[in-house]
Amino acid sequence: MIVAIAVLGGLALIFGLLLGYAGVRFKVEGDPVVDQIDALLPQQQCGKCGYPGCRPYAEGIVKGEADINQCSPGGKVGMLALAALLDREPKPLSSEHGVEQAQMLAEIDELNCIGCTLCIQACPVDAILGAPKHMHTVIAQECTGCELCVAPCPVDCIKMVPIPEAVKTWKWPYPGVQSTPEYSPCDN
């Protein structure tokens, strides 16, 4: 009886120590689910979901405060990816958090820019270049199209333009749609 208690007690102690050690040794920093959700979000940092950025929204989803259909830049594809990751029922994008549209690009009308730096402060990814009382410009490559710079501009000189199509980013269309325009000889 005593031997049995001693043996079981000893085993419990050993495994307890082992588990305790493993808990310290393999501790996971932060919530990995947040990282996984964050990796699926489009990182525009636009705040249309009601959170101040993509990561806070991811945290909101994990806490159960936010739903998976609040990210309009991610669109339906993004929502489906979130639904698949979290094993939830897909649902249509909520209309109060913006509408799904192709990514745009901010463009500053440089003739009218007064150099107030308000847009620079608003840009979440530091994609606007300029200095006080000097013309500002958007680094097109880094712009995420979040539209956060549009509202602060006191002279309304920022507008969102569609991203120009380039040879490198062109995609083959879905078959059945006319892929190339009809051959039309030029007058050379």
Binding site: A166, W170, K171, P175, T180
Partner: protein, 506 residues
């Protein structure tokens, strides 16, 4: 007789090669304007180093690769293909399935064809392979078989034991390699020798020619030396595919996500070999190439040595344009693509222009439902399951399509060729590949945005902290100054007092 192997599937389409293969290669005519796109190859585009108004000589670099040493990059310089003046650097339509514009240098030719200084490495065998390789990279040479892969990347001497010079030319209509092998077999052999030297001396060197080109085969046999084998391979599309040719000649299969050099084999096109010969022996960079102009839409289908950047309508006119051109295809009928018009330049990857007349084009068949006959799987040279890929691409289930190895597909078009339902299978694969690549690009962009946002928040916090620290420091300085001022005042008063006491004592 050398033993040959076979690859799975493949088709034997009508060749239509006799249209253009009987006439000798016509020399280039000089167009009034040359349009040179910055991107004529697979990889990074080059950057212009000339300005509008500059005089350029033939063979002078107009756009350099983005970096000091081209041989390290997936990029090659672009050379002026004739002498003249740079009149514009602007977006122009480029030969691409999209028909979009891209940045080009436009040169107005002066008709003098004056060469820039040419440096040849006549005694290349005495030089280190790296020196010759750098020379080839600087000459702007890319794979001239149609893909445009920068050649110097495939010239790294990393345990290569077999060099294959690809003269298979399996696509219907195209005859530029055929004519080149008949006309300049010696150049090709010397080019192969140079490539062999750069690769550190491959043990085996093979020139493969399809058996539908007996004249080219004979010409190469006559020119060949004992170190090179000239081998006839069966005419069987897609024999000219890199992996298929390797399999037929060596019996080895190049694995998925592997490149031929990993199994000690390098394949170069015959015209690339000739370009290497010209660059090393004559000091000529890549400024022209042989292009097949064929089809019922021209009066004299033939091969022409065309200066790069020559507008397509200029070359078509040279062959006698017939009225009523219905379609213009760049590349072959199996893997090429239709162009919306002919105001585009001939670039390094333009091996063939098919100018189709009205009778030549079949009325496009309506795609019927898939009847699951499996003919596509029988002809797939990669042993894929085209039918499964089709279902998944059609349903936009890209993950599943990738699981079925969509990216191993070489777009050869055999499946669509045999499909009894006339389903444009390759269009579905191209669509799916493009979508997957686009989402990959978006993912990368998102990663960069995440990092930048992270740094943005970090920067704001750092600035805030610094500001607080600065204010604190200033406050402390002010406090210190204040105390010092009070102390000084006290001292002053004290001193005054002492002084006044002293004076009252007097």
């Amino acid at each position: 007789m050398t033993r040959l192997w076979d690859f799975h599937g493949g088709v034997k389409p009508d060749e239509h090669k006799t249209l253009s293969c009987e006439k000798p290669i016509a020399p280039a005519k000089l167009p009034p304007f040359l349009v040179l796109p910055f991107l004529q190859h697979i990889g990074e585009s080059s950057a212009p180093i000339v300005q509008v108004g500059d005089k350029v000589l033939k063979g002078q670099i107009v756009a350099h690769c983005r970096g000091e040493d081209c041989s390290l990059l997936m990029s090659v310089p672009i050379h002026a293909s004739s002498s003249g003046t740079v009149v514009a650097i602007e977006p122009r339509p480029v030969p691409h399935p999209s028909g979009l514009t891209a940045q080009c240098v436009v040169i107005e030719t002066d008709g003098e064809e004056k060469w820039a200084e040419r440096t040849a490495l006549v005694d290349y065998s005495a030089l280190a392979p790296e020196v010759v390789r750098n020379h080839i990279a600087k000459a702007g040479i890319v794979g001239l078989g149609g893909a445009g892969f920068p050649s110097h990347i495939k010239l790294k001497p990393e345990g290569i034991d077999t060099l294959i010079i690809n003269g298979a030319e399996c696509e219907p209509y195209i005859t530029c390699d055929d004519r080149l092998m008949r006309t300049h077999p010696d150049d090709i052999i010397v080019g192969a020798q140079i490539i062999k030297h750069v690769l550190g001396g491959a043990k085996r060197c093979v020139i493969a020619v399809e058996d539908n080109k007996p004249a080219a085969y004979q010409a190469l046999l006559d020119a060949a030396q004992e170190w090179v084998e000239v081998i006839q391979v069966p005419s069987h599309y897609p024999m000219g595919g890199e992996r298929q040719l390797i399999q037929v000649l060596t019996g080895k299969e190049v694995g998925r996500a592997q490149f031929p050099p990993s199994i000690g084999i390098v394949v170069h096109n015959v015209e690339t070999a000739r370009a290497v010969y010209r660059a090393v022996q004559q000091g000529q960079p890549l400024v022209s190439r042989v292009v097949t102009i064929t089809g019922e839409g021209v009066e004299r289908p033939q091969n022409i040595e065309v200066l790069l950047g020559t507008p397509m309508h200029f070359v078509i006119d040279q062959c006698g344009r017939k009225p009523g051109i219905e379609r213009l295809i760049m590349g072959g009928p199996m893997m090429g693509f239709a162009l919306p018009h002919d105001d585009m330049p001939v670039i390094k990857t333009t091996n063939c222009l098919i100018v189709s007349g009205a009778d030549e084009i079949e009325t496009p068949h309506l795609a019927m439902p898939c009847i699951r006959c499996g003919a596509c799987a029988d002809v797939c040279p990669i042993n894929l399951l085209p039918q499964q890929l089709y279902w998944y691409a059609k349903a936009k289930n890209f993950q599943k399509a990738q699981d079925y190895h969509l990216f191993d597909c070489i777009d050869c078009g055999c499946c669509a060729y045999v499909c009894p339902s006339h389903i444009p299978l390759v269009s579905y694969y191209r669509y799916a590949k493009a979508e997957i690549r686009a989402s990959e690009r978006e993912r990368q962009k998102a990663d960069i945005a995440r990092q930048r946002h992270k740094f943005h928040t970090f920067r704001l916090e750092r600035d805030k902290k610094e500001r607080v620290a600065r204010v604190k420091k200033q406050k402390a300085v002010v406090e210190k100054d204040k105390l010092a001022a009070i102390r000084a005042a006290v001292e002053r008063v004290k001193a005054k007092k002492v002084k006044s006491e002293a004076s009252s004592d007097e």
